[in-house]
Point group: C2
Chain length 340, copies 2
DNA sequence: TTGAAAGCGCTACCAG
DNA sequence: CTGGTAGCGCTTTCAA
């Protein structure tokens, strides 16, 4: 891993390192002739500036950190891919860390990234994160942070979708399709995302004068199994749901499987709408009608917000990437829906 | 982002930095009393060793790089997740780069990682990579490298599955199920993985004295669309296939869709087996019988190989993680199969 | 146009 | 047990 240094070049030419430094960075104060020679030697020797020396000088690493609950979850992976592309394009590398959707790990990930002196951190919090002190500490240390998807009102810039509005749209669509007992499956009520989407769901019910039935709302820990048991319980009700709105991919899939395993037909017996990635929808069977999120844009926006902060902008911004209902096969065909 | 340094502590205590350095690293040569004070100040001031200073000193970054064709592809994402977990456990952070399955990007990714002075790189090559000089350069520079999935005989350690054997197993199973016109969909013939799997496929045919029909073998660029058109073409043959073996997730899914779109039934009319992740199989409909790979183990083994190299072991190893056929719903139920 | 020297934060080595 | 000093590779400032 030997790599040639400025000093090596300087020595070979019998000049001073500072001259080499200037030449290599195209600064003034080097005779064209010398510059040529230096550049030539640099190329020949495969010179690469030592990033640590540079970082040490400037305390700048051209590196950002990403914390996500699950790297392998398609939704996150797509956003990561987008962040990485955008970051690389801007000359930054990405360090990824996977919190396994656990608060403790998340804190650890943030800590490690800080120790690495990343210039900024993009975080999707764990579902059980209710203590934000690790993020507030970053803020206090003036380390740029951006949250996405799962956010909190702690004065940190973030990127989300129009959670409430999409829930209204989805729920309304189900109602228009004839559903009257719409179940809502979300994550913990501690998560703003869950609350917002539930808010939209309830709002739509109210607008249509449909009584709210508490037993149709299940907001628990997000996991495939919890989704399965919740759905089973719902199907066992004396008046089981005629539609489901699931706010997470795992939940949506579990709903699908539970319903199918009961021999019920989708959408004939029960409709389903989920907050899932296009890819998951495409793969599901029947293909789940879903709230389509522009994951690429979420990633791009997240990085841009971070970049702004890294460039000194300390305003707190909340970017809302508009999502909209995308119909597939888990909902009845729209007759006169406003959605086109 | 101000962080306290050893010098700050030294100054406050009126001692020398070298003493602080020793104390903070638990080395001998510091009075218990002084040590206490130093540790206390360090904690109070939130002291963090500056990784660049350390790196500059040791040329060690506690960082590895990962290059994959597509971060969002579940197979890769699961392996990355596993690598990241293993790496973090060993005190390393991971920088990810996504080559978009393009050779040019791949070269660029490797270059950037080298410039970052990562201590090692784990690579899954792009499908169009036929020039390995960028990797050979790493080898020459003694930068540890490990390949996975897509490998080449260039004297670099790697982790693969038993490609040929699994293809034999899958093909044999199809034959036992009554299939006689088995189509093979792979990537480019430049990829060893494709060649090996095709080898297994052909071997199984030979063993059962089934004539090899060249028109049933499609080895092209891997993409959803190419899989779709290839499958359509195959279905249009005078004697269309009665089974498909697809060596990549995108191809397997496209095969499924193409067949279904023609109104043919799986597995009644046509059987399908794919090299896909368990998760993709679970999501597909009908659930595709697949060659089940232990992705977690692939990641773990890849990192371990890298770690060995980083620790000075310069032997070239090829780890084969055994995969095996896992039956789902895209193949006829086994009657007297040896597979249990 | 070029050189010398200081310094970024840390560690290693040798003195005292 | 503690201090001083040199040096990792690079940039910057000042002097020549």
């Amino acid at each position: 891993m030997k790599t040639i240094s400025q000093r090596d070049i300087a020595k070979q030419l019998g000049v001073n390192v500072s001259t080499v430094s200037r030449a290599l960075r195209g600064l003034d104060g080097v005779s064209p002739d010398l510059r040529k020679q230096i550049e030539q030697l640099a190329k020949a020797g495969g010179y690469r500036p030592n990033p640590f020396a540079v970082s040490l000088r400037y305390d700048t690493t051209r590196t950002i950190g990403i914390v996500v609950p699950d790297v392998a979850f398609n939704h996150n992976a797509q956003i990561m891919k987008s962040i990485e592309a955008e970051a690389r394009n801007a000359g930054y590398m990405c360090i990824i860390t996977d919190s396994n959707d656990l608060y403790e790990n998340e804190v650890n990930c943030v800590e490690l990234l800080v120790n690495m002196h990343v210039e900024g951190i993009i975080v999707c919090m764990s579902q059980d994160t209710t203590d934000f002190s690790h993020l507030e500490r970053l803020k206090r240390a003036h380390i740029p942070v951006v949250l996405f998807d799962r956010v909190a009102d702690i004065g940190i810039s973030s990127v989300i979708i129009n959670d409430s509005a999409t829930a209204v749209e989805a729920t309304t669509f189900l109602i228009d399709g004839g559903a009257r007992r719409i179940a809502f499956l979300g994550g913990s009520n501690q998560m703003k995302q869950t609350v917002d989407r539930k808010h939209g769901y309830l709002e739509a019910l109210r607008q249509h004068h449909i009584p709210i039935r508490k037993e149709l709302v299940k907001c628990h820990h997000i996991s495939f199994n919890s989704g399965l048991t919740d759905t089973m319980e719902l199907l066992d009700l004396p008046e089981p749901p005629d539609a489901f709105l699931a706010t997470h991919g795992l939940l949506a899939i579990s709903v699908l499987q539970a319903i199918t395993s009961r021999g019920l037909r989708i959408p004939d017996d029960i409709s389903v709408i989920g907050y899932i990635s296009d890819w998951v929808s495409e793969m599901s069977h029947p293909r789940i009608s879903f709230v389509k999120q522009n994951l690429k844009e979420i990633g791009v926006k997240a990085f841009r917000l971070l970049l702004d902060q890294m460039n000194g902008d300390d305003s707190i911004q909340q970017v809302v990437v508009k999502a909209r209902l995308e119909l597939r096969d888990s909902t009845p065909k729209a007759k006169n829906s406003l959605i086109t």
